[in-house]
Point group: C2
Chain length 382, copies 2
């Protein structure tokens, strides 16, 4: 692997937006990707509604993100394995175990994480409309996918949404070497007027993730030195040296604190696993999520909020960029613009993923229906 200086690494354009050109990807028409994902999930036992929600989640990840982030159709392999070993129960009967006017707890009964989180956020939205603000916890769930996807669900309904989840231990407490806490991602979404894209912040509480580190390793590229430590706790730019070490939190001890409290708000408070236990047993991930919905109209008339928000956004977007070629962006803007682009140019996938999807389809007796994108293709209605 070619070693580069710190300066070279820093001059790198943002990594997640640029790697398509370095490791070849294949592109497929979005409707065929969505339909294929639904077919696979149906064949694994998901109900039609579940397949639709879960396919929407993984396709959104494929539209928003880099294949190296491994949140798109790559997730189907894990779902398939776990729907077969009992770790995920398709069409699970989820039950409301606690209910207060502004708080509720959903037992997902090992059902699909995307589905449990969707139901929880929808419930939070419904409650927040009645009482102003609401928080819904989910226990005994599975991988819930994109945090921002669930937060955006509230924004699509006109509310401010916050979603968070615990996750497998990959972050060490600040100053330690043993991973005890997860990347514990947060999504936060704010609706905008006039059909504009919502603000959607989607962030792990670590600087980056193992998925991108694996991609860089494969591409023979170094990583920034604040992503992860070696198992002994040393800084490194070699993804390989840090693959078994802890990921570094955002803001040093601050991200550690945020991750700890996120685990308390999700795993500890809902009755799921927490800390180093969550996500360890492939047959029982026992993940927890927490959804918060905030009704804007509990605080202010909507039209006034919208006008004020657009003024803030204008100031933010008007800030002079350091690099004149890179104007300021809103959180989620790149993702949503990329999604529109990919609806035309096709959904990028790692060729290795495509080979595995073909095998999975064959195994399930599902037609391999991914259609290669032809350039230029007309816009598709997602």
């Amino acid at each position: 692997m070619r070693s580069r200086t710190r300066e070279e690494v820093e001059q790198e354009p943002p990594i997640t937006y640029q790697l398509d050109e370095r490791v070849a990807v294949e592109r497929f028409r979005e409707p065929s990707v969505r339909g294929f994902a639904e077919d696979v999930l149906r064949a694994l036992g998901a109900s039609a509604e579940e397949a639709r929600i879960n396919a929407d989640g993984v396709v959104t990840a494929s539209l928003w993100w880099h294949p190296g982030q491994h949140q798109g159709l790559e997730k189907l392999f894990r779902y398939a394995r776990r729907m077969r070993n009992g770790g995920i129960v398709p069409d699970a009967r989820m039950t409301w175990v606690r209910e207060r006017p502004a708080a509720a707890l959903l037992d997902a009964n090992r059902g699909l994480g995307y589905v449990a989180a969707r139901r929880a956020m929808d419930r939070a939205v419904e409650m927040a409309r009645r009482v102003g603000v609401a928080m819904v916890g989910v226990r005994h769930s599975n991988h819930f996918g994109i945090a921002g996807f669930h937060a955006k669900r509230a924004a699509d309904a006109g509310l401010i949404g916050i979603s968070m989840t615990n996750a497998g231990a990959e972050m060490a407490p600040w100053g330690a070497t043993r991973p005890i806490l997860g990347t514990n991602p947060w999504g936060m979404a704010v609706p905008r007027a006039g059909g504009r894209d919502a603000i959607v912040l989607d962030m792990a509480l670590t600087q980056s993730g193992k998925g991108m580190m694996r991609w860089l390793r494969r591409a023979g590229l170094p990583m920034p030195d604040h992503w992860a430590l070696t198992p002994a706790g040393a800084r490194t730019t070699d993804p390989d040296a840090a693959m078994k070490g802890p990921l570094l939190p955002i803001g040093d001890y601050k991200g550690y604190g945020l991750s700890l409290i996120t685990d308390i708000l999700t795993g500890v408070l809902t009755g799921s696993l927490f800390g180093a236990q969550v996500f360890q047993d492939d047959e029982n991930y026992d993940v927890a999520h927490t959804m918060i919905a905030i009704d804007i109209e509990a605080f202010m008339e909507r039209v006034e909020f919208e006008e004020r928000l657009e003024r803030l956004i204008a100031d933010v977007l008007g800030a002079p960029p350091i690099d004149p070629d890179k104007p300021v962006q809103l959180p989620g803007q790149a993702e949503q613009e990329r999604a529109r682009h990919r609806l035309k140019s096709g959904v990028p996938m790692d060729p290795k993923t495509v080979v595995r999807l073909r095998a999975l389809a064959e195994d399930l007796g599902v037609p391999f229906s991914l259609e290669p994108a032809r350039e230029p293709t007309p816009p598709q209605a997602g």
Copy 2:
């Protein structure tokens, strides 16, 4: 100023805990500091209750933090100036302008920020006990002090507390040079059983603040290169070169997104100033805060929560440290331990602050009642 390598900077012990020895401080007995702060606030027109709350805030900052962070009695000068120019209205009549079962909005009517935030959090606690979760916004307020202090108020009542505020523009949108957003600090606090210190995360959404940069400049020390940029947007380890540039957010674009959404949840949503406007007019800061309280018992029996939380904490604290001399700490642990130590050893103050406090006391006709700490002094009851 001696220039040091990046490696030397990284080997520095955590700066906020180590500077006492580099710039001399004077130490005073805590009860005398508290009494003096109350006397000053009373002389400026605060009611007895307001003076008690506000003095508790600034004394807590002096007990928890480094004088260079400038959140302790140093804040009295600003409060005095603004209580005289009308920016802060002592004994202001604060009014509840909106009320829903889980949401409310308090108009602080330019009153003391510490007092408005206290009332808002107390209200959030009361509502959360009834409905499970509650969020209270505050508009037309002032500097609210320590975010963690207000979050801890909920934890002291047995709930999980979250507090946030907007602040003067010091952070640029990611990739830009012009500050539009504040450090917009968050406090998050979780109660523990058996009289143990609460977990208290208190964090600005920037890596550090101008206060510590000024202190380093005065001490002739460099700063880490991820704290702030020059006005042109270049990285630097020279605090002087960055004093007029933007502070850097935690987690790169993530902290920018968090700060933007915090300003939306506070300034935009409550009807206060937001973005680059807030904190600009010394006679009308018009700051906004948001307090969230979460009733643990809406989700789980308290005793079960406590047992689960202690298990997580044991795992976290048991993680092997990189440096054997620096065991893992919980968020807020160093601050609360330092406070207990300072109750005995005295409250450290910058000698320049002491000179100014003496002048302020004289000006207000208040006795200068700070009593120098004698080592060793017996513990004081705060």
